[in-house]
């Protein structure tokens, strides 16, 4: 079955630390990839997305992600986190075969001031 897997369920960092959240997907065909973020008490919102072209994608608030096709990965990175980045992060993949968006389990990021 098609799936998306996020390696880290709960990450705790100090401010200014670097962040990398892992995401792997199981599709073999064309896939579109997303990272969504849910800040405490707020809507789920899009951080960045990859459809084609440059595998390094830049999103809002200094986040970026790199699509590595050979590793079926789409890891999220930020060089220096802030307390305001405390949130839950979801990786998702849209399969062109099914048209469905499949989400990973989510990673809770806690940034200590």
């Amino acid at each position: 079955a098609q799936s998306v897997s996020q390696h880290n369920h709960h990450v705790i960092l100090s401010e200014a630390a670097s962040l990398e959240l892992g995401c792997n997907y199981s599709y073999g065909g064309t896939v579109n990839l997303f990272w969504y973020v849910q800040y405490p008490g707020q809507h789920l919102q899009l951080l960045l997305k990859y459809f084609s072209g440059d595998p390094l994608v830049k999103g809002i608030k200094g986040f970026e992600a790199e699509f590595i096709k050979s590793k079926f990965s789409f890891n999220l990175r930020k060089p220096s986190v802030q307390w305001s980045d405390t949130a839950e992060y979801f990786c998702a993949a849209l399969s062109s075969n099914t048209g469905k968006l499949i989400f990973g389990q989510g990673t809770t990021l806690q940034v200590k001031p």
């Binding site: 998306v4 996020q6 369920h9 579109n32 997303f34 969504y36 707020q42 809507h43 789920l44 919102q45 899009l46 997305k49 459809f51 979801f90 998702a92 849209l94 062109s96 048209g99 469905k100 968006l101 989400f103 990973g104 389990q105 989510g106």
Partner: protein, 113 residues
Amino acid sequence: DVKVTQSSRYLVKRTGEKVFLECVQDMDHENMFWYRQDPGLGLRLIYFSYDVKMKEKGDIPEGYSVSREKKERFSLILESASTNQTSMYLCASSLLGDYNEQFFGPGTRLTVL
């Protein structure tokens, strides 16, 4: 900005009650979706709709039904609520096509006693 609204932020119902969750979007999107969000499981698709009066089952449709009588409104129905349906329910909408991001509502936290 796209706005997706859900009728209630918090809802408490009793086992066996019929529950209606309403979702409205104001951007003339063709696609609408219902997900449930549970800790450690991410978001799972319950039902989606590509057009008025059209519906497709997602990954976990058992115990749920939906209704889409108007383009802007997508309702999720729990015919006979059970305690295992206690969850956060998220509605989303998007334009037709594979490459369009989904916009999410604020969620309804349903507790079934």
